[in-house]
């Protein structure tokens, strides 16, 4: 594999073909779990593992899957991976798994996973698919960790559960923005991130 091809394979999903901000995939969980940094981090890792593993599995059996039933086959593989991740989280990180509630299960229907399987893993060898899964996971991960960081900082004055806004600031009248913890805050923040990214990189703007 040429090194430039390798580079674009890894860099593209992180920036210019970012699954969340450019392709608008996987937005549900990007908005729902990001009230704090810790669950966002766990979610990012879980999604990366699921995409990478299911990409590798589907890619290794891609020549055996009849194209008519490929969606069902993909769903079964993804669901199996998600069950594994869910059981591991319940065993080793019970509190986080409780706070993520249904959203671990919803990785199954995360469009990034299905999108990568359909668009990439069905046609590419195992190694490349695995790498593509990792890169897509990172592209998804940095966005949701950033959103989680802003929401936790503005919404409760904390980062990873540690208070960072000094008491002195509260004394002179600063208050936490309760809206940030709720759903509208997530929409507005993600909208702002998309706006900033598209202002920096003109080629991503949508022409109507």
């Amino acid at each position: 594999m040429a090194s430039s091809e390798m580079k674009s394979l890894v860099i593209d999903p992180v920036m210019d073909k970012n699954p969340v901000t450019v392709q608008s995939l996987g937005i549900c969980s990007a908005l729902a779990v990001t009230t704090q940094v810790a669950p966002s981090l766990v979610m990012a890792i879980a999604v990366t593992v699921v995409i990478a593993c299911s990409n590798a599995v589907i890619s290794s059996i891609r020549n055996l899957i009849p194209s008519k039933i490929r969606i069902i086959v993909q769903l079964v593989v993804v669901a199996t991976m998600v069950i594994l991740v869910d059981q591991v989280l319940k065993a080793y990180a019970y509190n986080v798994s409780k706070s993520l509630s249904v959203f671990v299960g919803l990785i199954i229907t995360n469009c990034i996973v299905m999108g990568r399987l359909e668009a990439f893993a069905m046609h590419q060898p195992v190694g490349k698919s695995f790498l593509d899964g990792i890169a897509s996971g990172i592209g998804y991960g940095w966005v949701i960790v950033l959103v989680g960081f802003c929401r936790e900082l503005l919404g409760s004055g904390k980062v990873l559960g540690v208070q960072v806004v000094p008491d002195a600031l509260y004394d002179i009248g600063y208050t936490n923005n309760g809206l940030m913890v709720l759903a509208p805050g997530a929409f507005l923040l993600l909208g702002t991130i998309i706006w900033i990214q598209r202002t920096i990189n003109d080629s991503l703007q949508e022409k109507e």
């Binding site: 729902a32 199954i108 229907t109 299905m114 759903a183 509208p184 909208g191 998309i194 706006w195």
Partner: protein, 205 residues
């Protein structure tokens, strides 16, 4: 639960805990399919239909097959001890995939024009998180059969209401002067955020 309680439960699911605007589920197909009111209405009705059927159906599967001790109706003490609830995800998604296939066949037969306008988005309902999410909420919140039926219907109606309203705004938005960087996805996020605030206000009633 009597009728008035069920009614207020349904209204709660449509407005303050709207599945799209408060639980943030079903965003992908919402973003892809909210450019025109017609197709948004079609997709909304399809989602509502699938949700109304799958949530009670998954309730039956969960209660009589998967839950701990659910198999005790077989009379076999070995089976009664089984706890298959880790199979939740895979069973629910299978039921949903089958139902979506069925709805697709029905719509294709009954209304070819609707089928044409929904096109690629119908199979996407299978991976619409609002559908799987509702079934998982039903398990997590331990609804009864009647509650889960009402939940499926009202959550689906709430989803449809939200997507139709936002599609209407986006259609008008074409005549507005939106900053370049915000066009498309960005401005939709902002509208949805404002709409979510409005829906949250119903929590006060």
């Amino acid at each position: 639960m009597d009728f008035t309680e069920l009614l207020s439960f349904a209204i709660k699911n449509v407005f303050p805990s709207n599945i799209l605007l408060a639980s943030l589920l079903g965003m992908c197909s919402f973003l892809a399919c909210s450019k025109k009111v017609n197709s948004a209405t079609g997709l909304g009705i399809a989602v509502m239909f699938v949700l109304t059927i799958t949530v009670p159906l998954n309730w039956c599967i969960y209660t009589f097959l998967l839950k701990e001790g659910a198999l005790s109706w077989t009379g076999n003490p070995e089976l009664a001890k089984l706890d298959l609830s880790f199979l939740n995800f895979i069973c629910f998604i299978a039921v949903i995939a089958v139902m979506v296939q069925f709805v697709e066949m029905v719509i294709g037969k009954v209304s070819p024009s609707l089928y044409g306008s929904l096109g690629i988005f119908l199979p996407l309902i299978a991976v619409n998180c609002a559908i799987l999410g509702s079934s998982l909420f039903m398990v997590e919140r331990e609804y009864s059969f009647v509650e889960s039926a009402v939940f499926g219907l009202s959550a689906g109606f709430g989803w449809m209401l939200a997507i139709v309203l936002i599609a209407a705004i986006r259609q008008k938005m074409r005549y507005s002067n939106v900053p370049d960087g915000l066009k498309g996805l960005g401005i939709t996020m902002f509208i949805t955020g404002l709409m979510a605030m409005a829906f949250m206000a119903f929590a006060g009633i």
